[in-house]
């Protein structure tokens, strides 16, 4: 790893290029915002300006990738904090994925958002978001990381509420902001623990910044040897995981994503499927040595939160009727797989290499492609059906809009992991890995089962959605008159379809690219394991079974899904009510506990804090009321006072013997 520092280092071409990857979209943001507001005629170019800006970011990211060298630039910020960029396979892969997918989605948005009068605001905000997200993945310091992390949270809030005049959208934006704020508080606490545990051990490092990514990666093994070091690392890891769970919508902080679907579909594709929600996974992968060297429970926590979320979100996806919410639960579920893959690596670091990061990020990137594809095709359907989101009002669309639904079909096959799409190479790898780790470590059994059932549920809800949308007869007037969207929206879908189909061939190359991250570590090397063939094909058999069951219920309608729903009455109601988690958070925690605490604090503030402040003011006021009578306004009285004062001084001076 090459290290650059200071102004001289900043002016090196690779460092400048790395900075402009995320600075460019951020610089474009105010221009588009102001020009669009000032000149109405500029609005129609806003999309093109932003899209080309992000394309330049993608070119720069590709340039960094083509250098094929890791480097670290840092410069002093304040006290012992630094700012800079940290370039390694993880950040480069993420930067290329974010800028590439963002470029395609922006291109789609030129068509999708084209008629909105505020489209310059939309493009300015998505540009700011893309810049913020690229900043998240390139930051070399956790404080800088946190600032960009909050920036993307803000953009998420603004864009969910882009149609702010809809009350649902406004409240969904607030919900997303508040729920992720819970995670962010945990993240700040985690960073504080990291700061204090790394501060004593980094004196021999090139920089004295305890929160520098470089120091976290290279000195976690030293922290472990400190007294209670493993515990503090595990504590920091668990708290940071809380922040990651907030952003990546893991249980129990997953409740905001389904509501976030009130935003424009391109926003859902960009922020709540492909990029921002993966920031949490990236965060855990970024500071992986913390978990590797921590007490084992931190790794199990990562594993089981991921696996449980993968399963839980899958069950909720089964009963939704809103096409975007189905995809939202699917996103939560797939993010659970990524987190579980990371957790498997942390739990089993002794007998498999650290390259489970590569497996997780590979699934992340495949998921970004396929979920962007699914959301874009859902967006094209909404565009054609005038914002009808209920899948029961669709039907028969394959004949009406063949290109869109074919793209959706490819996305669905990739999502369930049907060979030979990319999803087969990414998701089945995680399930096989969990079985292998379970063979060595019986505690991982439930993770394997949850992930396996999760794969089955994925197939079921995906093809339930797909068959209902694509087959049968159109069930509404809008569905009868649907047609494919314009070319500017079709081209991104085609590119993403091709990527979803063929990205599997890059699997081994991707893993070996990632394994260079671990050179010199005790757990370097590639992940290699073997499991029995019948276990290896088990996910595929479940996929076939899932497609078959979905076909019976929603394709050929040989069995009625309503009867099954009625037959399992209370269970169905439980899932349909999202396990009452929203009810628990809103009606019990928020309205009972937090409101009560807030009232007590508010009374304390009103009567004690304000009382002190007002009391001081009242005393000063009364005093001045009494003494201002001395100001008669007659000059002679003042002269008399001066003489009196002089006399007093003289007398005191005489008594003290000054003269």
């Amino acid at each position: 790893m090459i290290t650059y520092t200071g102004l001289n280092g900043f002016l090196q071409t690779p460092v400048l290029a790395a900075f402009f990857i995320f600075l460019l979209p951020i610089i474009i943001f105010p221009f588009v915002m102001v020009l669009g507001k000032k000149f109405g005629s500029f609005k129609k170019y806003a999309g093109i300006v932003v899209t080309s800006g992000i394309f330049i970011s993608f070119i720069l990211a590709y340039y960094i990738y083509s250098l094929n060298t890791d480097f670290y630039f840092y410069s002093t910020w304040f006290n012992n904090f630094t700012w800079g960029v940290y370039i390694d396979p993880l950040s480069v892969a993420m930067a290329m994925m974010v800028s590439g997918v963002s470029f395609l989605i922006h291109m789609f948005a030129i068509g999708y958002i084209g008629k909105d009068p505020n489209k310059h605001v939309y493009f300015a905000e998505t540009s700011l978001f893309t810049g913020g997200m690229l900043g998240v993945v390139l930051s070399a310091n956790m404080v800088m990381f946190f600032l960009f992390w909050e920036l993307v949270g803000l953009c998420s809030y603004l864009l969910i509420g882009f149609w702010w005049h809809k009350p649902n959208a406004a409240s969904a934006a607030k919900k997303a902001f508040i729920v992720t704020r819970v995670g962010d508080v945990l993240l700040i606490l985690g960073l504080a623990v990291l700061y204090w545990s790394f501060l004593p051990v980094i004196s021999s490092s090139i920089t004295n910044d305890p929160l520098s990514v470089y120091n976290i990666i290279n000195y976690a093994s030293v922290v472990m040897k400190q007294p209670d070091g493993q515990f503090y690392l595990a504590l920091a890891g668990a708290l940071v995981l809380g922040g990651a769970a907030g952003k990546s919508a893991q249980f129990p902080l997953h409740v905001w994503i389904p509501d976030a679907m009130e935003g424009p579909t391109t926003v859902s594709a960009l922020i709540h499927a492909a990029t921002m929600v993966t920031a949490g996974i990236y965060l855990v992968a970024r500071i992986y040595p913390v978990y590797v060297y921590a007490s084992p429970w931190a790794g199990y926590l990562v594993l089981y939160i991921g696996a449980f979320t993968a399963f839980l979100a899958g069950t909720m996806g089964l009963v939704m009727n809103d096409i975007k919410r189905i995809l939202a639960y699917s996103t939560i579920s797939q993010l659970g797989y990524m987190l579980a893959a990371l957790g498997l690596g942390f739990v089993a670091i002794n007998y498999i290499s650290g390259n489970t990061i590569g497996i997780s990020i590979y699934h992340l990137i495949v998921h970004a492609f396929l979920k962007a594809l699914l959301f874009l095709s859902a967006g094209a359907i909404l565009y054609a059906l005038l914002d009808t989101r209920d899948i029961r009002k669709m039907g028969g669309l394959w004949k009406k809009m063949p290109i869109t639904i074919t793209a959706m079909f490819i996305g669905a096959l990739t999502l369930v992991g049907f060979p030979p799409t990319a999803g087969y190479f990414s998701k089945d790898e995680i399930i096989s890995l969990s079985y292998f780790v379970f063979n060595q470590n019986p505690y991982v059994l439930y993770a394997w089962l949850l992930l396996l059932i999760g794969a089955f549920l994925t197939t079921l809800y995906t093809f339930r959605m797909f068959f209902t949308v694509a087959l049968g007869k159109p069930k509404s007037y809008a569905a009868e008159h649907a047609k494919d969207p314009p070319w500017v929206m079709i081209i991104p879908m085609i590119i993403l379809s091709i990527l979803s189909l063929i990205y599997g061939i890059f699997q081994s190359g991707f893993y070996s690219y990632f394994s260079s991250m671990f050179s010199g570590q005790s757990y370097s090397g590639t992940v290699s394991f073997s499991i029995p063939l019948y276990i290896e094909i088990l996910p595929f058999l479940l996929v076939l079974l899932g497609i078959y069951i979905a076909w019976i219920f929603y394709g050929s309608h040989r069995l009625s899904s309503e009867k099954v729903a009625k037959g399992s009455g209370s269970l169905y109601r439980l899932v349909k009510a999202k396990y009452y988690l929203d009810f628990l958070f809103t009606n019990i925690i928020a309205e009972r506990v937090i409101v009560f605490v807030a009232i007590v604090i508010s009374l304390f503030d009103k009567y004690v804090i304000d009382g002190i402040v007002n009391g001081i003011g009242t005393i000063a006021n009364l005093g001045s009321q009494a003494f201002r009578k001395a100001q008669t306004g007659i000059v002679q009285n003042y002269a008399a006072m001066v003489i009196l004062g002089l006399l007093v001084f003289l007398i005191i001076g005489k008594i003290l013997g000054v003269f």
Partner: protein, 100 residues
């Protein structure tokens, strides 16, 4: 030569008269006269000491002081003229703006 103590006594008497004047008079003109008496008591004091020490600096200093007193009297009268235009009188009771 007049003994120093006589001169200083006259200076002290002038100072007391002037001080009593500025604290008690009700008219602006009288106030200015009182101020002049005060200033000149100080001048007399300085001249007396300078003469006794045979130092001409003190006498020159008093000349400057007299010039400043003249200027100050001019300013004072200007204020009184302005006051007269406002209130048709120079009574000090009418100068009450400087208060709560």
């Amino acid at each position: 030569m007049i003994p120093l103590i006589y001169v200083l006594t006259i200076s002290l008497l002038m100072f007391t008269v002037g001080l009593y004047g500025i604290l008690t008079v009700k008219g602006g003109i009288r106030l200015l006269i009182s101020v002049e008496i005060l200033v000149n008591s100080a001048n007399l004091n300085i001249v007396a000491w300078a003469t006794m020490n045979g130092d001409s600096n003190g006498i020159l200093f008093v000349l400057i002081s007299v010039a400043i007193a003249a200027a100050e009297a001019a300013v004072g009268f200007a204020i009184l003229v302005a006051l007269y235009r406002q209130t048709k009188g120079v009574g000090l009771k009418s100068l009450k703006e400087l208060r709560w």
